[in-house]
């Protein structure tokens, strides 16, 4: 329909021309306050639980108190007799509709409501629908379930033992708890290097067992849904807490057999996601079924404990890492074995061909001769695990492992960890760099980024203070030990090229459409869904930069499948790399349409126009120019339009990324450890991030702040252990601790800017960088502090008990109950 030359809209823009506007109202990139904050700071955000519909009913879920038990019987009669109860739905009810089980995002199945047995504590057993949430909750106590307890599988390390109870005996012929084996890298080449290293005098093999324990995303807003099936039109409207409204709509169509054009999924304001709201939970399906059954809107919002105990967990990787290294610190190869605890249902959210997510980037930021990893997934009697908790699809685990390993190598070789890293980091001239496991890193200048962080930290002065404190400690003084921890991470974000990356067959591209109204104001529709990332501001700034507009004149619409183009949503730091690219591209399409109209307005050939200063201008005649607003009005006027434009400037596009983007960063944690009590104080934290071009630096810094706080939580306090009966020991915020301002230092941020060469505006993802990069820095710092005690490694969370026990040489096993 248009004569737009695609070559005109592709390619990287020079970022330096974009970043100069005033802080409050930049015309394009630059720090500006978030547009969405006006409603949030006034308490006018609108979340799923704020929505009230006439005649709305309320649902509540009955959950299993046991981790593993056969269901003998369920008696719902007393609950049904409750005067305010409208319906009680059980697995049997759903089985009649073919909905007792649903597919997971990893081609497994998951019980919506248990039929045969319960497989984790907190699993959904029945759903009560009542006039109000109090009555729904009261009625749960009236349901009588008889269980026959079974031995649970709790310790992932014994899940594959012969004779272990079988968690998934619903799967025909299943006789063990094995889910998958997956490997990456060149096994033979890696083994060869290790054999050489073992034989050579000047080389060593360093080995360590490292656990990344189970953690939970714990968004402030728990999960929930309000389902409204209109019995007349047959249209289902579902307001729900989802990071991926379009993908959810398609999945509901596939699973429930509802026609997709009769499903509207609305994700209103979302109070944090962190991956928790990627999957579809039984409660959502129950709310939909309940609305169909009762003919009324049905709302279900889980409570805090339900969120922590039953929705998808993350991590739970038991890793063994080996490093072949020369004694002077040249890292040659890395070999990794992982036991992955996926819980009772393999509901991991990740691209189909990557059952261990992007764990394959475990070679980190280093130039290796060879690398290999093998990952085995197992079922246990725990809630399904493996969501992308701000982890970029398991890059968190990968980075944590390699950064711990590098520090352990430094420990064993008695080298300075900064020096060891400098010696092995990739250099700027090696990019694009293909890693030993096949990932093509796009750009970076790692030694520079690390040096900026070391300088900012005052690394040598800190080492001097550490030595002095150690001296006093050895002399018997009660003195805190100082620990300095580094991490250097490379992320691979922006999934992804659809040839390689899909979720349940849906390619991981994103759409954008841009309408420019006659008066020059614009509405951008995107398929990504903000959960606090500031899309309404950042994406408006992208359009503003491309079209010479003010971000205030661009409204960003997202989260409503009836109003926005298809795309896979927001997780894995993919919004700016994919949806942001789509936004730049659609704006460039609009700009090219505007060029044709401007040429007609100025009575010149389109080829004589150049885009200067945010307007189309006749080459060599700065006075003859038109802004987008002027052109938009003309496009809707009686002006006779040339071929290529029918009457408006609107455009849409889909962006299929050619590669992931590879942000990196160098972090330095400085901690004070009281070795007699085990308490850790994070004194300073220096974070130098390189996420390419920064659209809104203030939002970038906010993202980093949040991720760093998250990292403090994971490293020091967040942990969900299970006792051997399968009781979840982190089911409330008294037990699952989130960090507060008192645990967080005043963050010291820095930046280097290496644009992505393939991204339209040179940007890379940033949302998860700090969550990925900070835990290893903090753990490295704590272990470093405990040097006088000979500590080489200790597993997270490094609670005071874990730190003290490590110092005593009796490290805790943090995935199981402390006994």
């Amino acid at each position: 329909m248009t004569s737009i030359d695609d070559s005109r809209i592709a390619g990287v823009q020079d970022p330096s021309v974009q970043i100069h506007a005033a802080p409050e109202t930049p015309q394009g990139y630059g720090s500006m306050k978030r547009k969405e904050d006006a409603r949030f700071v006034r308490g006018r955000g609108h979340y799923v639980d704020d929505i009230v519909l006439p005649g709305m009913l309320h649902g509540a879920v009955l959950r299993s108190p046991l981790a593993h038990a056969r269901i003998v019987s369920i008696d719902t009669s007393a609950a049904e007799a409750h005067p305010k109860v409208h319906a009680v739905i059980t697995g049997e009810t759903l089985a009649g509709l073919g909905l007792a089980w649903m597919p997971t995002l990893s081609y497994d199945t998951q019980a919506v409501l248990a039929t045969d047995k319960v497989r984790f504590q907190g699993q959904e057993v029945a759903f009560v629908v009542a006039d109000d949430k109090y009555s729904a909750r009261d009625a749960l106590a009236l349901i009588d379930v008889e269980y026959e307890p079974l031995t649970p599988v709790i310790d992932a390390k014994t899940a594959l033992d012969r004779g272990s109870p079988v968690v998934r005996d619903d799967k025909e012929g299943k006789t063990d708890n094995h889910i998958f084996d997956w490997e990456s890298g060149d096994s033979a080449a890696t083994d060869k290097v290790f054999a050489e290293a073992e034989a050579a005098e000047d080389q060593v093999v360093v080995t360590a067992d490292v656990l990344y324990p189970r953690v939970h995303p714990a968004p402030l807003e728990t999960c929930g849904a309000l389902a409204d099936m209109d019995p007349v039109t047959g249209k289902l409207t579902l307001w729900t807490t989802t990071q991926a409204p379009h993908a959810h709509r398609t999945l509901y169509a596939m699973v429930a057999g509802l026609p997709e054009h009769k499903i509207r999924v609305v994700s209103p304001d979302i109070g944090g996601g962190f991956g928790n709201k990627v999957g579809i939970y039984p409660g959502y399906v129950c709310a939909i079924v309940a609305s169909i059954v009762t003919g009324k809107p049905v709302k279900w919002m889980e409570d805090r404990s339900e969120n922590l105990m039953s929705t998808s967990f993350a991590r739970d990787y038991h890793m063994r890492g080996e490093v072949a290294v020369t004694k002077d610190g040249r890292i040659r190869a890395v070999r990794v074995d992982v036991l992955a605890d996926h819980g009772a249902f393999n509901a991991t959210a990740q691209p189909t061909k990557f059952p261990a997510g992007f764990f394959g980037v475990f070679t980190g930021s280093y130039d290796l001769e060879a690398a290999h990893c093998a990952v085995t997934g197992v079922y246990t009697n725990k809630a399904s695990g493996g969501v992308a908790y701000a982890c970029s699809f398991r890059i968190t685990e990968a980075v944590y492992l390699i950064e711990r390993l590098v520090d352990i190598v430094a420990h064993d070789l008695e080298m300075d960890p900064a020096e060891l890293r400098m010696k092995n980091l990739l250099h700027a001239d090696q990019f694009p760099y293909q890693s030993a496991t096949g990932w093509v890193y796009d750009s970076g200048d790692y030694p520079h980024t690390l040096q900026v962080a070391l300088d900012k930290a005052g690394y040598q002065e800190l080492r001097a203070e550490q030595a002095e404190r150690r001296r006093r400690h050895e002399a018997g003084e009660r003195v805190d030990l100082l620990g300095i921890g580094l991490s250097f991470f490379t992320e691979a974000v922006g999934a992804g090229p659809r040839r390689e990356m899909d979720i349940l067959g849906l390619g991981m591209a994103d759409g954008a459409d841009l309408r420019v109204h006659p008066t020059g104001k614009a509405v951008l529709g995107i398929s990504a869904q903000t959960q606090g990332q500031g899309h309404e501001t950042t994406f408006a700034q992208i359009v503003a930069a491309e079209l010479g507009m003010s971000p205030d004149d661009i409204e960003v619409v997202h989260g409503d499948t009836d109003l926005t183009p298809f795309g896979l949503g927001t997780y894995g730091s993919r919004s700016t790399p994919v949806s942001g690219a789509a936004t730049a591209m659609v704006a460039r399409k609009v700009r090219e349409r505007a060029r044709i109209v401007a040429a007609a307005m100025l009575e010149v050939s389109a080829d004589d126009l150049e885009w200067n200063d945010g307007r189309w201008q006749v080459a060599g005649d700065p006075e003859a120019s038109k802004t987008i607003a002027e052109i938009a009005l003309a496009a809707h006027s009686s002006l006779e339009l040339p071929e290529g434009v029918e009457g408006h400037l609107d455009a849409s596009c889909v962006y299929n990324p050619p590669n992931l983007t590879y942000p990196c960063g160098a972090y330095v944690a400085v901690v004070d450890v009281d070795p007699r009590t085990g308490t850790v104080n994070v004194r300073r934290f220096i974070a130098v991030d390189d996420c390419g071009v920064r659209i809104n630096p203030m939002i970038v810094e906010g993202q980093v702040h949040g991720g760093l706080a998250d990292g403090v939580g994971m490293a020091l306090m967040q942990g969900i252990a299970f006792d051997l009966d399968g009781n979840c020991l982190g089911g409330s915020m008294m037990d699952y601790l989130l960090p507060t301002s008192l645990e967080c230092p005043s963050w010291e941020l820095g930046e280097t800017v290496t644009p992505s060469p393939h991204h339209p505006i040179g940007a890379k993802g940033i949302g998860e960088s700090a969550t990925v990069g900070s835990p290893p820095a903090i753990v490295n710092a704590v272990v470093d502090a405990l040097g006088p005690y000979g500590v080489r490694h200790a597993d997270m969370p490094l609670t005071p008990a874990a730190v003290w026990s490590a110092a005593q040489g009796r490290p805790l096993r943090t995935d199981l109950a402390i006994t």
Binding site: R137, D138, L716, A721, M734
Partner: protein
């Protein structure tokens, strides 16, 4: 959202009214003061009182005043008030030390001294602090009022000397000369319950410990007290060696249990360390050095 079971609500207009309401509504009725323990328990349906009797209107129980050689704290005195009180800081620095570690500012603005004691959580901080201070509590019932030493107040986890139909109305803390006190808590995160805490009160006679009070929380110490360590310290010179020895004895005689806050050996090690540290600090304060 977590929602409680159905309950009735009454607002007491006076102490006598509260006592009368307790009698009228029977054994399933409960007093609510700050509510920061009870309301969460109700939401989790761990507590399902038939009636809540709200005593937040009893502002006459919200006071801190000196009477003779005692400081008296009304049961409805909020944590934040204790934390900010100059009188308390002057005589009993152990209390602001402890209050600073209790929950967070929101809870401290609402939670009360009486409520904390009556909740009798085995990890409660003020119980250890008042035990170290050898405070007394005043309990009022339909038959009148009685004074009970804090060291006899707790009958076990979540159990106290307050019978149904009674109300704790006041805490009385003796003022002693040449006395210092201190409290220290180890927690996994600000606002968490203690992994272990110790509070010490030291009265000096010259350089000798004339009397010592050592309170412990979260480690299964009977009545929140390290009595054997106190006995060992009494009459001995106030030296670091004596404090270390007192810590060792306290660690030996407490009865911690393992949980996600730590294994038993760690909790005992903490007791030893925290007792020694707080004794040092209390002594320094008694000498006017800190």
């Amino acid at each position: 959202m977590q929602v409680p079971a159905q309950f009735a609500y009454e607002k007491a207009t006076s102490v006598d009214d509260a006592i009368e309401l307790l009698a009228r509504h029977g054994p399933e009725s409960l007093i609510v003061a700050g509510g920061h323990s009870l309301i969460p328990m109700m939401k989790l349906r761990l507590a399902e009182p038939s009636t809540l009797i709200d005593i937040n209107g009893l502002t006459d129980l919200d006071y801190i005043r000196v009477e003779g050689d005692q400081v008296r704290l009304g049961a409805m005195t909020r944590h934040a008030t204790v934390l900010e009180s100059a009188v308390v800081r002057e005589h009993f620095p152990i209390l602001p030390d402890a209050e600073r570690t209790i929950a967070d500012p929101l809870v401290r603005n609402r939670g009360t001294v009486g409520g904390s004691l009556c909740q009798a959580d085995p990890s409660e901080d003020l119980s250890a602090a008042f035990s170290a201070l050898r405070a007394d509590v005043v309990i009022r019932g339909a038959e009148g009022q009685r004074v009970v030493p804090v060291r006899e107040f707790h009958h076990g986890p979540y159990e106290t000397a307050v019978a149904h139909g009674e109300l704790l109305i006041e805490v009385r803390v003796p003022i002693r000369t040449r006395t210092g006190s201190a409290y220290q808590k180890v927690e996994r995160r600000a606002g968490d319950w203690a992994v272990a805490s110790a509070g010490s009160v030291v009265s000096l006679d010259g350089d000798t410990v004339a009397e010592a009070g050592i309170g412990l929380t979260a480690v299964g110490a009977s009545h929140f007290v390290a009595a054997e360590a106190e006995d060992a310290l009494r009459g001995r010179p106030a030296t670091d060696e004596a404090f270390t020895e007192a810590g060792r004895i306290a660690a030996e005689h407490c009865a911690p249990s393992a949980d996600q806050r730590g294994p038993v050996d760690y909790k005992r090690a903490l007791v030893a360390e925290l007792v020694a540290r707080t004794l040092q600090r209390a002594t320094a304060r008694a000498r006017g050095e800190a």
